[in-house]
Symmetry: C2
Subunit: 132 residues, 2 copies
């Protein structure tokens, strides 16, 4: 897959997430996908996302930076959202947060086979403590 094709595919994946279009997620995520070392498979991957949207009703994935080197995509995602209760073990309780996620994806056969994701929990803690 060329860099342009993979970039387009990745943006299609993000659009699918933002539509919460779970019936079509299998176009982008492999049936045996691994997320942060856990073999979730497609159904587990969807369950994870459904939980995310349940905890954060206004969740929206913004692609801030995209680094494409087939078969890998690295991305900085930005979030401006409002978790309703606890999030990452923190009592957010409806405060509006702004934070990033740095995530690397490996694609195989045109689908995401493995994901290494790190959310910027430290940035959230600073905001909850009253900092910027």
């Amino acid at each position: 897959m060329t860099k342009t094709e993979l970039t387009d595919l990745y943006r299609g994946y993000i659009a699918c997430l933002n539509r919460q279009d779970w019936p079509n997620l299998g176009q982008f995520v492999a049936g045996d996908a691994i997320h942060n070392g856990r073999r979730l498979g497609l159904s587990g991957y969807i369950a994870m996302l459904e939980r995310d949207f349940s905890e954060i009703p206004d969740l929206y994935f913004n692609v801030l930076m995209l680094v494409c080197d087939p078969p890998y995509v690295a991305c900085r995602l930005g979030f401006e959202c409002t978790p309703t209760g606890r999030f990452l073990g923190l009592d957010v309780n409806g405060r509006r947060l702004s934070f990033g996620e740095n995530v690397i994806y490996e694609f195989r056969g045109g689908k995401i086979s493995e994901v290494w994701s790190v959310l910027d929990k430290v940035a959230i803690e600073v905001q909850l403590a009253g900092g910027r």
Copy 2:
């Protein structure tokens, strides 16, 4: 700069960190470098690293994954190390930790001009709580 050249340059930067070779860090880091939104400059960047090595005497940067798309490099770094006291606001106190960092670099004029780094604090918390 080609992908191969940028990859080699980045690996040279990591080797420089692991040698704690601060007099030569200016070969890799711009004089006005920004790290997670803060304009540290070269001197502030070195001060940050000196503090890291002071808090974590056995700090060593392992490149686990490298995604190169000039002028950007994205990397998953792995750490197996022993912070002596507090680290990221957590009482580590000499426990051995294993965690990752997902980091994206922008290069300008052959040097790192901006860095977006996220350490996997959640993985550290799991280990301190007695999990894997």
